[in-house]
Point group: C2
Chain length 234, copies 2
DNA sequence: TACGGGGATTGACTCACGTCAATGTATCCC
DNA sequence: GGGATACATTGACGTGAGTCAATCCCCGTA
C-alpha cells in the first residue's frame, strides 16, 4: 500500500461528486487528497473501521464484501475505475464501514479526508445534490439486490442477472462480464457450481452461452420471459 | 383514502428530517402538507410511480414490498409511526418508486410535495445532514438485509433476526414482534411454515419461545453463538 | 353462542441446491 | 516452455426448505 500526493485536477473531476466543482474547490481537494496504489489482493479498509476518509477508484477493481460465518466472502459490489466507494462517507454522526474493501487486481485509489468531503458538501450545492443522488441510486441498487436474493430458484436469479447485464450493455447480443464467475456467484449468493450448472442449462436450451467472461445472448425474449416468470422453459 | 389539510406543527416536527427546523420553514411545510387517512389494506403508492410527494407515517403500519413472479409479496420494510418513507424522495433526477406501499392497519400518513422537501433541503443545513444521514442509515440497513438473505440456512436467518430484535429491545428477555409472523417470514424471504418450524426447534432447544407476537429469549448466549456460527446447536 | 376468515402450526413428500471430490483449463511467473 | 495457482466445470450424493393439505386457534361479527 503505497501513498502518493499531488493528483491532477482531471483525475478528481472524473467522479460525479466532484465533476462540476469550481477550480478553487478542486484545488482544495487536491491539496488534501492522495492516491493509494494497491497490489492485487490488498486490503483498503475493513468492516467496522470508523470512517475517516472517502475512497474513489481510479483504476483496477475492488471488491466490497462481508465475511460469512463459514469464512467465505459475500460480494456486495465490484468497484471499477470511476466509481466512488459511496459506503465511504459520513457527515454528522460517527459511522463505521459496513463492508470490507480489498483490491482484486492491481489498483489505484483516490483518498480524500472526510472533513474535506464535508467541506465540499457545505460549499457546493451541486455537490450536495450529486451526493444525495448517489445515495439514492445506491439504495435502489440495494433494493434490487435484496429482490434478487429473495428469488428462490437459482435459474431465475441467474436469468435476472444476465438480463440486467444485457440491458446495461445496450442490449448487445454479446458482452463481457466485468468480473470472474466466482465473484458473480458470490454476488448472487450461489455456489460457483450452481452458477455453472445454470449457465449450462441455458446453453442447452439455446437461451445464452458463455465461454470464460464472454456472454452471448441467443434468445433475449425467452430470457426476459424467464425473468418475468412466464416460464415457457424452466 | 381520505385527505385532510392543516397539520399541527408538532406532528411535522416529530420526524427527524424536520425536527430542528425554524418555525417559518415548518409553517411553509404546513401550508403545503396534508394528512391521508387509510383504511386497512389500502394502497398509498405503487412501484414505478414517479415520485411527486414524500410520505411520513403518523400512525398505524404500512408495508413496503415488491410482488414476486408468483404473485406473492416480498416485504422490504414495515413502517411505523414516526418513520419517514425515505424511498419517497428525489432531488434533481426523475425517480420512480422502487417499492409498493400499502397500509396494514388503519393508518395516517403525512404527505409533503417533493418541491417543498427540496426547498427545505436547500434552505436548512440541518435538514441536509439529516437527510443524508437518513439515506446512509437506509443503505446500512439494506446491506444488513442483503447479508441476512445470503445466509443459506433458515435457522441462522431466523436466529439473526431474533437476536437483532432482542438487541433493538434493549436486551429484554421478552418483547413483542412489531408485525405478524407472516410478514416477518416474508422479510426473511422464508415461507411461514419454515419460520414456524425454526421457532419450534428453538423452543425445543430451550433457546427461545414464542406465543403469538410475544417472544421470550431463554438463552441469549446460545442465540448469539448461533448467529456468530459457533454452532453448538444447529 | 355460533359462525367465518385469516393466521399459525404440523405432517408428508419432493426436488433443487450445497457439499465433496475429481478433472479440466486459463493465467502468471520463474 | 513448464510448473504452480487459481478458476471453471462436471458428477454423485444427502438434506433442508418449498409445496400441498389438514387442523387449530384467535378475533371480530352476526
Amino acid at each position: 500500500m503505497l501513498e502518493r500526493k499531488l493528483v491532477p485536477h482531471e483525475q478528481i473531476r472524473q467522479f460525479d461528486l466532484f465533476s462540476e466543482l469550481p477550480d478553487e474547490l478542486i484545488e482544495h481537494i487536491r491539496r488534501n487528497a492522495w492516491t493509494i496504489s494497491l497490489k492485487a489482493r490488498e486490503a483498503l479498509f475493513r468492516q467496522n473501521d470508523p470512517v475517516r476518509r472517502s475512497y474513489f477508484c481510479l483504476s483496477g477493481q475492488l471488491k466490497l464484501f462481508r465475511l460469512t460465518r463459514s469464512g467465505s466472502e459475500k460480494i456486495f459490489m465490484i468497484a471499477h475505475a470511476g466509481d466512488g466507494l459511496c459506503d465511504a462517507i459520513s457527515l454528522q454522526s460517527e459511522r463505521f464501514r459496513p463492508l470490507n474493501a480489498t483490491s482484486i487486481t492491481e489498483s489505484e485509489v483516490l483518498s480524500v479526508d472526510s472533513e474535506v468531503v464535508i467541506d465540499v458538501f457545505h460549499r457546493s450545492q451541486r455537490a450536495r445534490t450529486q451526493l444525495v443522488d448517489a445515495l439514492i441510486r445506491r439504495v435502489d441498487d440495494l433494493i434490487d439486490h435484496v429482490e434478487l436474493l429473495s428469488v428462490d430458484k437459482a435459474n431465475f436469479r441467474v436469468a435476472s442477472f444476465l438480463f440486467n447485464e444485457y440491458q446495461r450493455n445496450g442490449k448487445k447480443s454479446s458482452f463481457q462480464l466485468n468480473s470472474s464467475k466466482k465473484y458473480i456467484a458470490s454476488y448472487l449468493s450461489l455456489q460457483p457450481e450452481t452458477l455453472s450448472r445454470c449457465l449450462r442449462t441455458f446453453r442447452q436450451d439455446g437461451i445464452a452461452s458463455s465461454t470464460n467472461r464472454d456472454i452471448r445472448i441467443h434468445d433475449p425474449d425467452r430470457l426476459e420471459q424467464l425473468v418475468l416468470g412466464i416460464d415457457a422453459a424452466a
